[in-house]
Amino acid sequence: MLLIDCPHCGPRDETEFRYGGQAGISCPTGDVSDEEWAAYVFMRDNPKGWFRERWFHVHGCRTWFDVERHTVTHEVRKAR
C-alpha cells in the first residue's frame, strides 16, 4: 500500500487515489500524422527506475498532481 503525498491533503493511502499514468503527455493540436497521434493515444514509457507519473486524489480533494515513483523499489518522491 503506497503512501502518496497529496499536495493539498498530505500523505494518504493509495486507495484514496486513481492512477493517471505517465505525466507530461500533452494532447497534440493542429495537424498531426497518424503516427504522431497514435503515439499520443497509445504509447507510454515503461522504464525500470524513476518514472514521472500522475495521480488523482479521487476520494479526497480531487486534485491531479505529478510524483516520481521508482518502479523497482516503489519509492515515491516529489516531482522535480
Binding site: M1, L2, L3, H8, C9, G10, R12, D13, T15, E16, R18, G20, S26, C27, T29, V32, D34, W37, A38, Y40, V41, F42, R54, F56, H57, V58, H59, G60, C61, R62, T63, W64, T73, H74, V76
Partner: protein, 1040 residues
Amino acid sequence: MRFTFDGRPLLGEPGDTLAAALLRNGVRVVGRSVRLGRPRGVFSAGPEEPNALVRVGADPMLAATTVELYDGLEAWSLRGKGRVDPDAVDGRRCDKGYLHCDVLVVGGGPAGLAATLAAGRAGARVILVDDQPVLGGDLLNSRLRLDGAPGCDWADGLSLQARVLTRTTAVGYYDHNYVVAVERRARGERLWHIRARRVVLATGAHERSVAFPGNDRPGVMLASAARAYANRYGVAAGRRAVVFACADSGYEAARDLAAAGVEVVAIVDPRNGGPQAAVIGAVVAGAVVTGAVVTGTTGDADGVLTGVQVGDRHFPADLLAVAGGWNPAVHLFSQSQGRLRYDEDLRAFVPGTSAQAERSAGACRGVYGTREAIADGYAAGAEAAGRDADPGLRVPECDEGPQRPPAALWWVEGTSQEESFVDLQRDVTVADLARATGTGMRSVEHVKRYTTAGTGADQGKTSGAAVVGVMSALLGAEPGQVGTTTFRPPYTPVSFATLAGRDRGALSDPVRTTAMHDAHVARGAVFEDVGQWKRPWYFPLDGETMEAAVLRECRAARTAVAAMDASTLGKIDVRGADAGAFLDRIYTNMYSTLAVGACRYGLMCTADGMVFDDGTTTRLGEEHFLMTTTTGNAAAVLDWLEEWRQTEWPDLDVSFTSVTDHWATVAVVGPRAREVIAAVVPGALDLAFMRYASTPVLGVEGRVFRISFSGELAYEVNVPWRYGRALWETVLELGAVPYGTETMHVLRAEKGFAIVGQETDGTVTPHDLGMSWIVSKRKPDFVGRRSHSRPDTARPGRKRLVGLLPDDPAAVVEEGAQLVAEPAGGMVGHVTSSYASVALGRAFGLALAANVEAGDRLTAVSGGSSHGVTVVAPVFYDPENARRDGEPLAFRPEPHRGECRSESPAAAFAGRFAAASGPRARLREVPFEPMWEVRGTDPGTGLRLGPSWWLVSGNITPQPDWVDVSGQRTILELSGPDATEVLITGCPVDLDTLPGPTQTLLGRTSVILERRERDTYRIYVRSSFTRYLAEWLVDALDAL
C-alpha cells in the same frame, strides 16, 4: 477447563494452548500426516507448528499450538489438511482497523520490550504488537532470572508508553512501512493496517530441526518447545528424555526438563567438549554424550517414540528434544524487500541490507543473549524515535551462560530404513530432496516446487533451514550459496473471514439507493444492480411474470402514462465563463451556441475516438449548464471532466459539482403524461420539447426537462432529494403506472436508441452507431476527433448498429448471440439488445454487424440454438417522431393539493441509531440544514474541501454562484469517548493528526469527515450511500 478432542472429554488449565492441554492429558498422537498418513504429535510451541493440526469449530485447520484453550472447546484431529465445511456455523464478526504511529515494534520479547520502552520514553507515538496473550516473548518459556527475579517480572514491571496489541500477529510487511496484523479478539479477528514511520522488528528466532531417520515420531519435538511446556505450562512432555543438543540451548532445555521432573537420560552433542557442569546443572551433567549424533528412533505399534538410537547405543525414552540451532525469524524483514545474508558463525540467514525504514533487533538478527537483545532493543527503539539512547535505561543483570556456536548439522545419515523427514507438514524427506537434486535441480525455488517442501500452512518455518542445509550437503555447496526461497505474506495463515472483515453480506459492496427506494420495496419491485445502485427492474403485480409485467408497463407508457425513478442518472452542475467552450471540447457536438433554457443530447468520446458516455445537457444560464450522464458512468465522467480541465486546459474558467444525489428525478412518460404534469407541476404544462423550466413541483423548488428516451411525450421532473418519495407517490396516485429499467430498455430499443455499455463496448465510434449527425464538422477540435480519421476507424467494413427481426416473431434471441452470414460468410457481429415488444407485436433486436444491409438474412447462434433473422434499419417504432408531443389535455386537472412530505436520507434509521448508541458512543442524523458547494473565491466560512473548493452549510443567504447541494449529502454525527475507536475500523487517515475537515474513505464510501470536538465527529455522506453507511456504523457500534 473442559474441552474435547475427537469427542473425548478432557480437562485443561486456564492459559493453556490446546497443544499444552493435549500434552497435559498425555495425548501423543494429534493427527496423521498428509501424504504418508504417519502418526504425528506436537512438535513446537508456537506458530511454526508443522504437525499438530486440528479443526476447531468452523475453522477447518489451525495449529493446536496457537489455539488458546477455552471452556467447551471442541477440537478434531486432521490428516494433514482441513476441509471447509460450508454448513459450519461461523459466529465470528471480524473487522478492520487503521493505525498510524512513529514507531511500530513487532514482537514483545526482551528486544521488542526494550525497543518499545526506549521509543516511548523518547516521545514517539509507539505501537507494540505481539502474538501471545501476555508480553515477554521467550522469557515466558524460560527460567531465566533478570536482576535476580524471574524474567517475566522484569517484563511486567516495565511502564510502556505505547498502544500495546497482544494476541496480534504481524502477517504482512508491505510498501512504505505498511504492516498488516491480525488480532484475535473475543468476537472475531481484527485486521490491523498499521502505517509506521519506522519499524523495529523483534520477531525472535525459530529453533530448527535436524533430518535423521525416524525424526517424525510423536515424542520428537523441538527442545525449545519441551522447555516451554515444562516452564510456562507446567506440563512434562515425557517421562524419560534424550536431548539432541546441536546448540547450547539444548542444555538449558535439559536443565529445565530435569527441574520439571523429567529424567534426562542423554544429552547428545555433535560438538566436542560440553559446557561446564556449573552452567548446565549437576543433575544432567552426567548424561552428556559429546561428539555423537542421533542416528535413529524406535517406536511402539502406534509409531510413538520408545527410544533413541545414538550409533550403537539405544536409550529408552518417550521424549526426544531436538535443539538444532536457531533461525532468526526474518520473514517480515524479507517481505519488506530487505536482503538476507548468510552468517557463517551463526550458521543462519540474518538481515543484510534494509529496503525500508526498518531495523531488526535481538534474536531476529542473530543477537541471541538476553542482555544483548535488551541492549539492542534499547538502541533500536531510540534510533527509531530519532533520539540518542536514554542513559536512564539500564540492562538488567542475567544468569545466562555464554553460548558456543551451533554445530553445522542439518542431516544425519542413519543406518535404519526409516525415512528422514525435512518438511513434516508436507511429508518431504531427504530422499525426495536427493531425487530433486539428482534430476539436476540446483535452485532452492525449483526444489521447493518439485518437492512441495515449504508450501504447507506453516510455510516451512521449522524446515526451511533443513531444506537448505540438506541441499547444500547434497550439492557440495555452502548454505549461503543455495540461498532461501522467497518469504511471502502472510506470515501465518489468515482466514478469508478475517480479510473480508465487515465487507461481507449486505456490506460487501456499498448499495446505493434513491429517495424512493422504500416505496419501491413496498410496491414489490424486483431490483437490478446498475453499478452500485439498486434500480427497480420491473414492478410485478400479484403473481405476474417478468415478461407479463414488462409488456404491461410498456403498454402503459405507449398508450397512457407511466413513471420511472430516474434519480440514478448522473447530474453534474457545470459553471464558469468558459463552460460552453469546455463542453464544445468534451462533447462531439456544439454546446456554446445552445440557447438558455434548451436541452441537447450529447455524445462524448475518449481520446481513441470511441464512445464513452452520452446524456442530455441543458443550458440553465449563460455560464451555467446541467449535464446528465449514464447511471453507471457518473463518477467516471466527473473524473474525466476534472482531468481535462486540470491537466490540459487549466486556463479555462469552468468548475464541476456533482448534484446527482441532490435531485430526485421522476420520468413521467406517455401520451397522457400532461394529465399528471398539470396536477404536479402546472408551470411546466406548456414546456416545448427539449426545453427546461425551473418551476415549483408540488409547491417545492423543482426543475422540469422535456426530454424523452422512449419517443413518447415525457417530462423529467426533479425535486430535492428529501421530497423525492412524496413526488413519486403523488405521480403514481395520479394514475401513472410505475415501470423499471427493463421497460425503459425496451422502449428505447424500439426507437433505436443505443445504450452506452450495451450497444457499445469501448470499440464503437459514433459513426459505427450511425450517429455521424452528432459529430460536429464545424468545431476545430473535440476529444477523440483526430482518432475518427485514423485508418482503422475510418475504414469501410466496420461493425455498425443495425436492427434485427427474428423469423419467428415470438423468438427473443439471446443477447450476445453471434451473427453468422449464410451460407459461408462467417461471423459478422453479435446481438446487443433483444426484447419482446408489445408495440410491435413481436420480438426484435439490435446488433453490431459488419458488411450487412437491410434485407440480409443472418443466423443468430447462441448456446446451441439458432434463429434466422433479417437485418432492418435500427428504428422500429415511430420513425417520424410523431408521438413526442402526446395527446392534448381532454380536461384540466386540478393542481395537486396537500403537503409535499419531506424525508431525510437516514430517517428510517433513527430508531436503530438510538438503540445502537450508548455512553461510549452515540450516533444520530443531524437535522436538515442547507448546504452549498463554493468554487473560486474563499467564502470565509464552511469546510475547505480542496484547492478553491468549500462546503458551506447553515441558514445563511447564499451567493448566486454557490451550487445548492442541500440534498447531495446528509450529516451523521458520531460522538462519545469511543467515537475514534469506531472510525478507525474504516477510515484510513490518521485521525490524531487530522488538520481540519477532510475528504476520505469510511468503509467503502467517500465521506467528508469533520472533527468538531475531541470526541465529536460529523460525517457528511452522499445521500445515496447513507443507507450503506448507516448499516456499517450500526455494525461498528455493535462491535464495541
